[in-house]
Structure formats: C-alpha cells, structure tokens
Symmetry: C2
C-alpha cells in the first residue's frame, strides 16, 4: 500500500520544528540550522549537497539514507520551497537547492498562487498545487506510481496533513538543542487521540530517532 511518510524531520528538545523569522538567510528560521546539524555531518548529506565524499557513516547517516528509499514523489509546503510570500513576482525563485535538488522525483508544492511547473536537473520537477492538501496528495500518489510519498515539511504543512489523519508514519529526529521560540510541531495537537504511537527509537550520533506510526488498536 502506498504510504504518506514524514522522514528525518528534526525537532528541538522544546518541540520546535523551525526557528522564528524564516528568510533567505535563515531557511529554517533563526537558529533553525541547529536542528539540522545531525544531517549535515552524514555521508548522505555530503554527497547530496556538497557533491563530495566524506561525512560520517553512523546511525544518523543510515537513518537519513533510509528516508530517501522507495520514495516516488514529494510534497512540500510553500515556505519549505522558498522565502517568497504572496503571488509569485516571476519565475526567478527555483528553490533552496541549486540546479540539481536532492529529490529526483516530482515534487508537489502547496501554494495559493498558480505557477507553471519547473523542471530541474536530475529528475526533480516542481509542480505547484493550488487546490489544497488532498489534491496534492492525490497527484503525488499518481505520480509516485506505486512508491511512497514523502512529506518534506514544514511544520504547518505536517500539522495540516496530520490533523486530517493522512500521515501513515513519522520519523522525528530529536535534537538536544533549545530553540526557545519558532514553530511547534505538537502544539494543540493530540497525536495520541489522532491514533499515533511510538513504534521504536534509535540513538544516533547527534539525534535520537523516534518512529511514530498509526496504532492498530482503538485509541
């Protein structure tokens, strides 16, 4: 069965999935990069973003690599695609990731403002969906052709899909950092009542990986 998955989504000890004040300089908000430090040190990230060898081949690396396996399409919130707000002024913004983004699949970007698809190197195509989260999921499932769909984020997008009960599995990377403010993943969201449970956890070098799934028994 085709699943909708959240993978490698980092949250701080105090529950923030992004810092405040997202901008061109701070894609993950102020101090948000502290969330991602577990990933920056992996071999997966080095190969992907810096196109170089090196990085560490430990638990964090293995978990990050697994997160990319079997994925046939991605869904991103608009803020995760870029810092531009409101109507697109032009086609200048092509994502945070350079000419060859790390997706290598169709990527469905949720937005209120229509825009033509954007074909990038390496098999990534950004498609802009204005009809909401259900339409994006339907399109992503069709594009994934039997493989799973990964929901990249950010916090608000994950919260929307989760409230709608559409996420099958969530892998969170708990980072031992305090952000103090920003976007909280769990705020006013009773995951237990929504039917989720912690299936397992795994200690990585720079994060604790927790795997949530739908409970099979009644809530």
């Amino acid at each position: 069965m085709q699943k909708l998955l959240v993978r490698s989504f980092a949250i701080s000890l105090d529950g923030y999935g992004a810092g405040p004040g997202q901008s061109l300089e701070n894609p993950l908000g102020i101090r948000g990069t502290e969330l991602m430090e577990w990933f920056f040190n992996t071999r997966v990230w080095r190969r992907m973003h810096a196109q170089e060898d090196g990085g560490e081949a430990g638990v964090d690396d293995a978990v990050a690599a697994r997160g990319f396996e079997g994925i046939g399409a991605w869904i991103l919130g608009r803020n995760m695609f870029g810092p531009v707000r409101g109507p697109w002024p032009d086609d200048g913004w092509r994502g945070w990731w350079g000419d060859e983004p790390p997706y290598h699949t169709p990527v469905f970007v949720l937005t209120h403002h229509a825009r033509a698809p954007l074909t990038m190197a390496g098999g990534t195509e950004f498609r802009f969906v204005t009809e909401g989260i259900h339409a994006a999921l339907e399109q992503a499932r069709a594009a994934a052709a039997g493989r799973d769909v990964r929901l990249g984020g950010g916090v608000a997008t994950i919260r929307q899909y989760r409230r709608a009960g559409l996420i099958d599995e969530l892998h969170l990377a708990l980072r031992p950092v305090l952000l103090g403010s920003g976007e909280q993943l769990f705020k006013d969201l009773d995951l237990r009542a929504l039917g989720y449970e912690c299936a397992s956890q795994l200690a990585g070098e720079r994060a604790t990986h927790v795997f949530l799934r739908r409970r099979t028994d009644p809530p």
Copy 2:
C-alpha cells in the same frame, strides 16, 4: 557551590511531564506511568521501592543512581506529595511512598496550608512550607548543609522555579511515548532566553537522557 537540581524528570515525546487527571489511582495522571517505565526497570528502583534485588543495570540505572548522589534535601510540589487538595483534613496522608520513602533527607513540601512536620522511617522528614518557593529553597539549602538540593517536581513546581531562574541543572529523561494531554513542561517557557543550553545527551535503554545547564555565554 550548593546547586538546585532537577534529576530524572521524565517527559513524553510531545512534551508532557504528567498526564491529565492526577488521582490516588493515577499519581502521575492518566497514562503517566508510561513516563516512568524507564525507571521501573532499573536496579535502583527495585531496591528502593520493592526492596528486592533484580532490575537492569544499564545506562538508565546508572543515570537514576547518580540522581540521588550528593543530595542533602528535596523540594516537592504538593501534588507530588499527594492527591489531597485544599486544607489538610487530618494527618492521614503520609505520601505515596509507604513508611520508608526513598528520600532519606528532609523534604520540603510546598503548600498553602500549614501542617506539622512528619517524620518517616529511614531519615525522611516531610516539612510543609507555606511561604513560597524562595523560602522553601532557603530552608532546603540550610538543611542540606552544603550538599545539593533536588527539586522532585511536579511540572508546575519546576516551571515556577525555572521561571525564577533558580534551577542550576536539569536532567530530563525523554520517553518515546505520546501522552496527548496533561501538563507540558516547556509550554510558554523560553528556556533558551532563560539562559539554559543542552550540555550533553546519553541514550538509555528506555529513555534518552538530556542534561541542561545554565549557559555561560550571554543569551
């Protein structure tokens, strides 16, 4: 220097330090025992509460044991002492822990209602403080005679002391469980702005142990 310490305080993945609906049947609130399962399996707990050998001698056990070392006095919120609310009807309630509580030191219980001290077996004496958190800390420091003071909880009490900037170190045991509701430790509390940082983390068998301390650099 005499420190005020929080040790072995468990929180759920979604940030709860206690479940809802604390009562005689559910001292930690509904499903709150899920928070403590990392502790129930340790040798420390078995010796302490069940007066028996057995239990597991791993990381969780070592961390739990360290939490009791060098402590000369404890401070507890009233709800952690018991489920009785309002004025004490009589001296019948003597804590959750039987005749020989695990403290073996003076224990200062915060309450709005005066009550005579209660001497238990094994060196524990419950003393009831009606003059607030600063008075309790002052009395606990004097009683501890140079050793540290441990703040046992619960959530509301820790939040009060932390907001006042009085806690030197916090060791949290992060449990991979979802409580969904209850008392949140971090809610509306910007620990970073209050001057704390994560000093280290340690993977245990059933919890991830995170050690917070005051930052030495300016916030």
